[in-house]
């Protein structure tokens, strides 16, 4: 599968290759080329990896091999971090985003929904169509993490209840693969979202009325993803010094909160490198790359696990520094990338209240 995709990408390379020479200042950016590169070189491969990784969960789910399931969960979450920042298109339809990962879960809906299914031994787990209508909180990667890593019952597939938990894991794995495939499918085909991005401004395009619009959507996605890291992945668990809130961290049970941040920054960097870098003047490009490098380094060097670091006074500073670095990266994109793309971000338009 991978090989085939790589071959396809190579064949498409003449149309998709990022321009390596920095663009001359003042020339209008080639919006169509940027949109095509984003869709073909970054977004489609990201969803392809998600489809592969979620499909790969079905085998270990078959016999509830706890170790293999945990490995598979990490691979699937890694793949989701490569795509989670894409905040438009098929993933926003039918609550797909939340069906893939229900987070933040501020009111414990994941636990409650799982408990309800388990207590009732709800037979819906045997029915793929029925399970697709179950609350998004009981589907997806957050629910799977709970079933595999929970302190009390994680990966406990023994006895009658364990057998039901195993069937629940199977249902989630199948549903995840199905949802991911539906999202990827939405990007492909005759009038798929890849076409929608590349044909912005064409009369038959009913989504983007001007060539600049998909660029704005990409930019909004990057801004949203960096805010998610700053506010949700870091701000919420940091809480206050007197009252850190470690269990608000994303995927704290599986201890991969900081890995998510690293991968999310890397995904944004990949989007920038593949789609934008060739169209940005050199000085701006260098500043943006330095911003990415700085944030990535802070994430790589932050004390692990986040769960402990936010509650340890001597380690909080490094987490705060990461938060600031992510904030600064977002500022840099706003001040350097947005003007280079001639995307206007207004006083009110950006305030969003």
């Amino acid at each position: 599968m991978r090989m085939l995709l790589a071959a396809l990408l190579l064949a498409a390379a003449p149309f998709l290759a990022p321009a390596l020479a920095p663009k001359q200042a003042n020339a209008a950016p080639d919006y169509r080329a940027i949109a095509e590169r984003a869709a073909g070189l970054h977004i489609a491969p990201a969803y392809e990896r998600l489809v592969e990784a979620t499909a790969a969960l079905e085998a270990p789910a078959g016999d509830c091999d706890a170790e293999a399931l945990r490995v598979g969960f990490h691979a699937a979450y890694d793949a989701w971090m490569g795509a989670q920042h894409i905040a438009f298109g098929p993933v926003e339809a039918d609550s797909h985003r939340f069906a893939i990962a229900f987070w933040p879960d501020t009111r414990g809906f994941v636990d409650k929904s799982l408990d309800r299914l388990i207590a009732a031994r709800d037979p819906v787990v045997g029915d793929a169509e029925g399970f697709a209508k179950v609350s998004v909180a009981a589907r997806g990667l957050t629910a799977l993490e709970t079933l595999l890593f929970d302190e009390d019952h994680g990966a406990d597939f023994s006895g009658e209840e364990g057998a039901y938990r195993c069937r629940l894991v199977q249902a989630i794995a199948r549903d995840l693969a199905h949802t991911s495939a539906a999202v990827l499918e939405g990007w492909r085909g005759d009038r798929g979202y890849s076409w929608v991005m590349a044909s912005a401004g064409a009369p038959e395009n009913r989504v983007y009325l001007a060539p600049k619009e998909p660029i704005r959507a990409l930019f909004t996605s990057m801004d949203g993803a960096l805010r998610t890291i700053e506010d949700l992945r870091l701000g919420r668990p940091l809480g206050s010094e007197d009252r850190p809130r470690p269990r608000r961290a994303e995927t704290w049970r599986s201890g991969r909160s900081l890995r998510n941040i690293e991968l999310s920054i890397a995904a944004l960097r990949d989007l920038y490198d593949k789609a934008f870098a060739g169209a940005v003047p050199q000085a701006e490009g260098e500043e943006i790359e330095a911003g990415f490098d700085h944030a990535a380094r802070l994430a790589a060097e932050a004390p692990r696990p986040l769960l402990e670091a936010v509650a340890a006074p001597e380690k909080r500073a490094a987490i705060e520094a990461l938060r600031k670095g992510v904030h600064r990266l977002n500022e840099t994109l706003r001040k350097r990338l947005a003007p280079a793309m001639d995307v206007t971000l207004g006083f009110n338009a950006q305030d969003g209240d």
């Binding site: 939340f98 701000g235 809130r245 207004g346 009110n348 969003g352």
Partner: protein, 365 residues
């Protein structure tokens, strides 16, 4: 000279507070027709009074970025709330050019940037977030006693963003946006998968919830944020779609107390897409026949016929957001400093272009 006048006025206000002398009115503040917060060219923040002709009649510094102001019905007092998730409010005396009082949200609460006085100017109602539980709260403050808190009640939902006072019915209309936030994580939205916005009507005296109207299930992610009210009691609300920004969802709805459902107003699909899922402000025109919806994200203003619900005209105005009625038509403000009048005949005229970047809302006095 100016200082002398100020200290005289201050002394007059001190007397006023004891209830003896005649009080200052909005005329003493230059008779503004509107209040607007904004950012001045120096980068500082301010609250300004604008006349009907779009002239600035005062500009008073604010310690931080404002959002909207609640205007006292006859005294020249404006309550400027710290923008979400701010915890303090400043009572600005627009005649004296001074902060008359400052008050803070109770422990564990923050303001949403909007509030409203009762028609006597005796009470101020504020939208608040009890952020640990996520419950929406309406705070009640005694405006005569330097804004002492005297009560509160549940807003009927999560994230009460704006409220209006219906003087004839002694009723509050509250836009419960449905989006849960916590100050630890700024404005990050914590409950999109399960959000349920509503428009709630509350008895202004008892806080009793008289009616709650929700959007239909497929529009559950349409956050009810801002409100306008026509003299006959018709309420209009501006919505913010939290799902795919590329979907052309309706962003404007009207409702009459007692009616079962919201009535959604929407432009034809391609035009609606230009609003980018974001209704900024809503206003009825002066004669009440038109309904304006701004979208700063789309740089687009829609003017609807309030009766038929048809889109009458759309205007391109970069970063447009504030909207309020004028004598007949409408006035809108934008982040580029523009003040634009839209006549009843749907003509557009730029009244002024100031160096101040006008913030989200324009409050009619």
């Amino acid at each position: 000279m100016r200082a002398d006048r100020r200290s005289f006025l201050r002394a007059a206000l001190a007397v006023t507070a004891s209830g003896a002398a005649p009080r200052l009115s909005w005329a003493d503040a230059g008779a503004p027709s509107y209040l607007a917060a904004g950012q001045t060219p120096s980068g500082g923040y301010a609250l300004s009074g604008l006349t009907a002709a779009g002239e600035t009649c005062f500009t008073l510094p604010l310690p931080g970025r404002g959002h909207a102001a609640a205007a006292h019905p006859f005294r020249p007092l404006a309550v400027a709330f710290a923008r979400r998730p701010g915890c303090f409010a400043l009572v600005v005396d627009c005649a004296l050019g001074a902060v008359a009082a400052r008050f803070e949200a109770p422990q564990g609460r923050h303001f949403y940037g909007h509030g409203a006085f009762d028609p006597e100017g005796a009470l101020l109602y504020t939208c608040e977030n009890a952020y640990e539980s996520g419950e929406g709260i309406v705070g009640v403050w005694d405006a005569a006693k330097s804004f002492e808190r005297i009560g509160e009640f549940p807003s009927g939902g999560v994230g009460p963003h704006e409220l209006l006072y219906d003087a004839a019915a002694r009723r509050l209309a509250v836009a419960n946006g449905g989006v849960r936030t916590h100050p630890d994580s700024g404005r990050a939205k914590l409950n999109l998968p399960e959000m349920r916005p509503n428009l709630a009507y509350l008895d202004a005296a008892s806080g009793e919830i008289l009616q709650v109207v929700e959007p239909p299930a497929e529009l559950r992610m349409n956050s009810i944020r801002h409100l306008a009210r026509r003299a006959d009691g018709l309420v209009a609300t501006a919505l913010q779609w939290q799902g795919d920004p590329e979907l052309a969802q309706p962003l404007l709805a009207t409702h009459r107390f007692g009616d079962e459902a919201l009535r959604f107003l929407c432009a034809p699909e391609l035009e609606q897409r230009r609003m980018r899922g974001y209704g900024g402000s809503v206003a009825f025109s002066g004669v009440g026949a038109r309904l304006a919806l701004t979208s700063p994200r789309g740089g687009r203003l829609h003017v609807f016929d309030a009766e038929s619900g048809a889109l009458l005209r759309a205007f391109d105005i970069e970063d447009v957001c504030g909207a309020a009625p004028d004598a007949n038509g409408l006035v809108v403000t934008d982040g580029g400093g523009g003040v634009t009048r839209i006549g009843h005949d749907l003509s557009a005229a730029v009244l002024a272009r100031r160096p101040t970047r006008w913030d989200n809302h324009l409050v009619a006095l």
